[in-house]
Symmetry: C2
Subunit: 334 residues, 2 copies
């Protein structure tokens, strides 16, 4: 049994830089036609010069595989001229509230001060991608941010707003309340809850931001994905850290899922009799929402068992040592 996906896209991806970029980019480039590249390097990608450098780095690290990096800038208050010049180079601008996740210290401290830039983005048609968490209690952060999404959606009705890596039932409910609000969801948030992180032994490799929530949250996200809700896109949020940053006295947030994302999604959708919805979830919805047409690529998955390695280099992947029922069999430019 096999399944061919047309131009699968990962709409939320961390590729890092330097040696880590070299180590992880080939996995995304092998499985996906393109990906939305997060800009939270140190310092952040917040100029066109740095963006062009990063795009070249990604192309180099992709080792000749056909792969389209859909670049983002790190949100700051850009001038109208900067935004106009940037527009052809980017798929959107990523906004981090200051300090909520890995390398977000330079993020926005006061969201009200973003309005001027948001108004220009709306006028120019540049989407806004948001890490939507407050600074409150860890389980409440996404929920506390939802009114901010609603406020921005109302205030800038022509602005395309993407709630990145949603993790709660409440966020899924907000999706239908504003026409200009969209969302990505990760593979792991379709599968795990806080129980998987901390119910038995504590598993640092399942620690991520936003933190995995309750079973009813996971179930609401899964329901939306399996029906390929037209406003929902797949975004792995694959975020590699070296083992020393995960298995120490203080563990960094991030799950490295790039090497397993498509096979695990195929298995998950097949288990629920929803394989027919995978194409929309991993590609069609994103192409329609962003109005993009990246160079096509056919990725064929086949039903054949394999065991996920314990490590890829120095990085422990999501589902390490697990057996998966599907694997990538063939990749062809269309």
């Amino acid at each position: 049994m096999s399944l061919t996906l047309d131009t699968p896209l990962d709409m939320h991806l961390h590729l890092r830089e330097g040696a880590m970029l070299d180590a992880v980019a080939p996995f995304s480039a092998a499985a996906f036609a393109g990906a939305v590249i997060m800009p939270n390097l140190v310092p952040p990608v917040d100029s066109l010069e740095r963006l062009r450098w990063y795009r070249r780095e990604i192309a180099r690290a992709s080792q000749g595989q056909q792969f389209t990096p859909l670049m983002t800038l790190f949100f700051r208050n850009y001038s109208a001229a900067e935004l106009a010049e940037a527009k052809p180079q980017i798929i959107g601008i990523k906004l981090y509230p200051a300090g909520v996740t890995t390398n977000s210290a330079g993020g926005v401290a006061n969201l009200a001060e973003a309005d001027e830039t948001l108004a220009v983005m709306e006028r120019l048609g540049i989407p806004l991608l948001v890490h939507g968490e407050s600074h409150g209690f860890v389980l409440d952060r996404e929920q506390e941010f939802l009114p901010i999404y609603a406020r921005i959606a109302r205030q800038f009705p022509q602005l395309t707003i993407v709630m990145e890596h949603i993790t709660t039932r409440r966020a899924t409910e907000l999706l239908d309340q504003h026409t200009n609000l969209f969302a990505t969801v990760t593979l792991h948030h379709l599968q795990i809850t806080l129980n998987d992180l901390a119910g038995g032994l504590l598993d640092p490799h399942l620690f991520c931001k936003p933190i995995a929530k309750r079973p009813e949250d996971r179930d609401a996200l899964l329901q939306l994905a399996l029906t390929a809700h037209p406003k929902l896109m797949f975004g792995s949020d694959s975020a590699p850290h070296p083992r020393s940053s995960k298995e120490g006295a203080g563990c960094a947030a991030g799950v490295f899922s790039a090497p397993v994302a498509l096979p695990a999604l195929a298995e998950l959708f097949a288990q629920h009799g929803a394989l027919g919805k995978l194409q929309a979830f991993v590609s069609d919805n994103a192409r329609r929402i962003y109005n993009i047409a990246p160079p096509p690529k056919q990725v064929t998955l086949e039903r054949r068992r394999w065991v996920v390695p314990a490590r890829y280099g120095d990085v422990v992947p999501y589902l390490a040592c697990s057996e998966l029922a599907w694997r990538i069999a063939d990749v062809q430019p269309a």
Copy 2:
């Protein structure tokens, strides 16, 4: 400024065995007049022979310091004759639902099957100490167990039941609803929430079972402790693990607080203007609830700053590298 505590007791303590026992027992023996010793060794302490051996081991490891181990047996279905023989040797029997925490695999799988033993314990006046967690979602486990506490309290009205290491507001509310229901609370559950474990970097040294809960839970526990609620006792649940078991790919549950417990409690109670309640919280309540009179010991704390070491041997303590305002200045047999 100083404060002398009369016969401070730690009503919930894990001392382990072998080299770990040798490493950690001196800290409890230095600060406390006695402690309730948890029986979850491998295999568990579930015979008088094994209990006598463990008591001798603890005495040896206490290095001549005056310290009274208040021994417990691991719950199984004991005969009436076994219980009658055990009674003079123990302060109570500790019940673990199977598999809920470190070394609890041999615990009770079906609580209804415990009734016969509970009836004999009630008749003989042997207290029941319970790790009250269900096997459900990690944040709900204590709350889901509360109806079981209520059922046992009603069914065995003369049985003294101690809800060990409570972590939720709901548990504090249950305390007043049954005259034969009591509780211990740890130092760390008076101070931390899930935010401290997982709100920034993930901190494996704050991972414990039951897991730390929400701010409103912590606040309810703190309120009860600062007023020295007459049915609440201090129990550190100090539970050492070697660093390799905490800082690896799977982190064991347990916080090692024995070396800092009394100083940190003094600082916490002083901060809230409640130093006058500390004696009841760390000793008087326990002596009255259990009707015990362990050999007295005067422990004097003084207000003098010190920095908690990064490690004690191979164990990272609670509040490692933090500055504490109080320290133990003097210990005297009464």
